[in-house]
């Protein structure tokens, strides 16, 4: 993008300024989110608790409940938006979301199986992670065995098939689950929630997300070239198969680890990359960080709503859809502006 061309003048804020501004907004949002919650604490009490000078109850609320939750919302939002941006570039399709290859369906099945077997929470999360990875691994494996010239289409179709299979298995487990203990837990998990999240839940997911982001950042130029189409990319000397595999592996790793943490949170990975693209254009080197920042902010706002608007928790999946769906329609109505 822009290599050697001097004619393209974009009236967009410089990327550094933009990411800096977004980061600042995000920090402010996070600070505000820590201040807000059903347990009434004045800003002074919150600050005191943050500094370890508050009363015991306030410190529990801030350190054990709100901070892990705010951190988890930032991590999950950033990860899903980054993965969504990667998949959209890879598949050259703005309607692609991170669960296109069956990640959510696989992770959902893994988690539901864990709940069904009454495993401890950490084992349920591990089971979800394994389920998501296995589903995508299976999709890529089957796709590589199918002889078809359109690799992308093959991948997507097999993703749909495997997703449907995993969904069927999930439904079977739901039918067999205990309606008082297990079924509500399963339903809640499949709708996504950050309720009752602890620091111990976040710590394993954080390094995995970072490990997944590194190859995406390093491969940004090749991903740009890939989005021109396989033929063109080959002509420009990019090893299409290997790059595609790396991007899928990295984006899947990111999506699965946060899905294991938060359950199935839809819409973030679909909608946020569009907003980012409107701001900075399709160049992946800029799209990735901006998507991640906006995604983190979006999910933070949504999760803050989820824990404050009602007496009881509202599942995240419901809110992201209720907010995301109309917004997406509005985006579509504006035409394809922003998509290269």
């Amino acid at each position: 993008m822009g290599r050697g061309t001097t004619t393209t003048v974009r009236l967009r804020p410089p990327v550094l300024t933009l990411t800096g501004g977004l980061s600042f907004c995000l920090a402010a949002l996070a600070f505000a989110a820590v201040m807000i919650g059903p347990y009434s604490l004045s800003p002074a009490q919150t600050l005191a608790a943050l500094l370890g000078q508050g009363d015991r109850q306030a410190e529990i609320v801030i350190w054990n409940i709100r901070l892990p939750r705010v951190a988890a919302a930032l991590l999950v939002g950033a990860a899903l938006a980054a993965a969504g941006a990667s998949y959209q570039a890879l598949f050259r399709n703005p309607l692609v979301s991170p669960d296109i290859l069956g990640v959510s369906a696989g992770a959902g099945l893994g988690a539901v199986a864990g709940i069904f077997l009454s495993l401890p929470v950490a084992a349920i999360q591990a089971s979800a992670f394994v389920g998501g990875m296995v589903a995508v691994g299976f999709v890529t494996l089957v796709a590589s065995m199918v002889q078809n010239t359109d690799r992308t289409l093959t991948l997507v179709l097999i993703g749909v098939v495997i997703g449907a299979l995993a969904g069927a298995a999930t439904s079977l487990l739901k039918v067999m689950a205990d309606p008082y203990d297990q079924l509500p837990a399963i339903t809640f998990w499949l709708l996504g929630s950050l309720a009752a999240i602890t620091t111990e839940d976040i710590l394993p997911a954080l390094p995995i997300v970072l490990i997944g982001l590194v190859p995406l950042a390093l491969l940004r130029w090749r991903i740009n070239v890939l989005s021109l189409g396989d033929e063109e990319a080959r002509a420009l000397g990019v090893e299409v198969g290997r790059t595609r595999f790396l991007v899928i592996a990295a984006a899947t790793l990111i999506t699965t680890s946060v899905t294991a943490l938060a359950g199935v949170v839809g819409w973030v990975g679909l909608v946020i990359p569009h907003i980012a693209r409107m701001l900075v254009g399709p160049g992946f080197g800029r799209l990735l960080p901006v998507s991640a920042l906006i995604g983190a902010g979006y999910l933070l706002i949504v999760d803050t709503l989820a824990r404050t608007i009602a007496q009881v928790e509202v599942p995240l999946g419901i809110l992201t859809a209720v907010i995301g769906a109309p917004f997406f329609v509005w985006l579509l109505a504006r035409g394809r502006q922003g998509w290269s």
């Binding site: 919650g37 059903p38 347990y39 009434s40 370890g52 015991r56 109850q57 410190e59 529990i60 609320v61 350190w63 054990n64 409940i65 709100r66 709940i115 009454s118 495993l119 401890p120 929470v121 950490a122 084992a123 349920i124 039918v175 067999m176 689950a177 205990d178 309606p179 008082y180 203990d181 297990q182 509500p184 837990a185 399963i186 809640f188 998990w189 929630s193 950050l194 309720a195 009752a196 602890t198 620091t199 359950g263 824990r307 007496q311 009881v312 928790e313 599942p315």
Partner: protein, 345 residues
């Protein structure tokens, strides 16, 4: 990060009030509880019933608000307790900050004590610093559950009295069953859902009452599946139960007219029974202490000659002892008519 972790670890150490007691719960967890327990958060519907029965003034809210037809059967101030959601399963509906705002002395869950719930209890206890007690919800464990809870809530006499009452009822039924060989017992089908085609397999928590009261659950595949299942009309015809129990008024209303059900023994002999559900279901829904009322009712249905009891007096006594309500004649009449198949809806 290390500093943060150390800090969190320090927070997780329970800072105990001057006087604390130790309770060993059904999962074998040793939990420190304050000397005086005045407020209790019930983690789910079964626990809320247990706490309400044991010490209603300690209950801080219902997992879901009571429905109009249920309100009459809950004592006056407690029927207006707020809705608090449930902490069942990872990511339950209850908001932990709201739980903390209620500042309960204790959180109680009554039901499964398998690994997921043990782990969940430990997490919530560490995260909030509120002691969390798990009590095994299987029917046979009821006396034990009452004793543990009575101990935990500082009302051991009430726990003991109720446990003795439950044991006496269990013993009366077992005495009857001694003379009834397995193959002579009624073949019972628990019909759930408006179509009546949902049932609980033998061994599931939803149908424990059938075996306990001396029936045979026709939904029995030798223990291969547990919990609720969807069945088909054809299977019901194959197992041909001689007794059907349901709480669904829609199913009850159609079963005697629907041609598909007419060939079933239970329908031909009129042995289809509708369970009242106020304030809680008599036979299930949720599986908690409310099932004791269903046990008394069903013992009379299955063994009318052997069971010594008067449903009118037994119901009045049960609602008084367990639910803290003196039923008016009108309220009692509504319940009995309901149990005879005329629900007040």
């Amino acid at each position: 990060m290390r500093l943060l972790l150390t800090f969190l670890a320090l927070l997780a150490l329970p800072i105990l009030p001057a006087e604390a007691r130790t309770i060993v719960d059904s999962a074998g967890r040793t939990v420190e509880v304050p000397k005086d327990v005045n407020t209790v958060f019930a983690a789910g519907p079964p626990a809320s019933i247990l706490v309400y029965i044991m010490k209603p003034e300690a209950l801080t809210g219902w997992p879901r608000a009571l429905r109009p037809e249920e309100r009459d059967y809950i004592a006056e101030p407690f029927r207006d307790l707020p809705e608090t959601g449930r902490i069942t399963g990872r990511g339950g509906e209850a908001n932990l900050e709201r739980v903390l705002e209620i500042e309960p002395d204790l959180i109680i869950d009554f039901g499964s004590v398998r690994d997921t719930y043990v782990d969940l209890a430990n997490r919530v206890q560490e995260q909030t610093g509120i002691p969390y007690i798990l009590i095994d919800g299987r029917f046979e464990n009821t006396p034990e559950a009452l004793r543990i809870l009575g101990e935990a809530l500082g009302v051991p006499e009430r726990g003991e009295a109720l446990a003795v009452d439950v044991e006496a009822t269990f013993a009366r039924i077992e005495a009857i069953l001694q003379d009834v060989p397995e193959e002579e017992r009624n073949r019972v089908y628990l019909a759930r859902g408006p179509e009546g085609l949902e049932t609980g397999m033998k061994g599931s928590i939803n149908t424990e009452i059938i075996e306990r009261v001396g029936g045979r659950n026709v939904a029995d595949d030798g223990g291969a599946t547990r919990g609720l299942v969807q069945t088909s009309m054809e299977q019901v015809i194959v197992v041909n139960p001689d007794t059907i129990v349901t709480w669904d008024p829609n199913f009850y209303g159609m079963v005697f007219d629907d041609p598909l059900w007419q060939g079933i023994d239970a329908v031909q002999t009129g042995r289809v029974y509708l369970s009242p559900t106020a304030p809680f279901g008599w036979i299930d829904r949720p599986p908690s202490l409310n099932r004791m009322m269903g046990l008394i009712w069903m013992a009379g249905l299955l063994y009318p000659d052997k069971w010594q009891g008067d449903l009118r007096e037994d119901t009045r006594a049960f609602y008084k002892l367990y639910y803290h309500v003196d039923l008016t004649d009108d309220e009692l009449e509504r319940l009995l008519e309901w149990a005879e198949g005329r629900p007040p809806l």
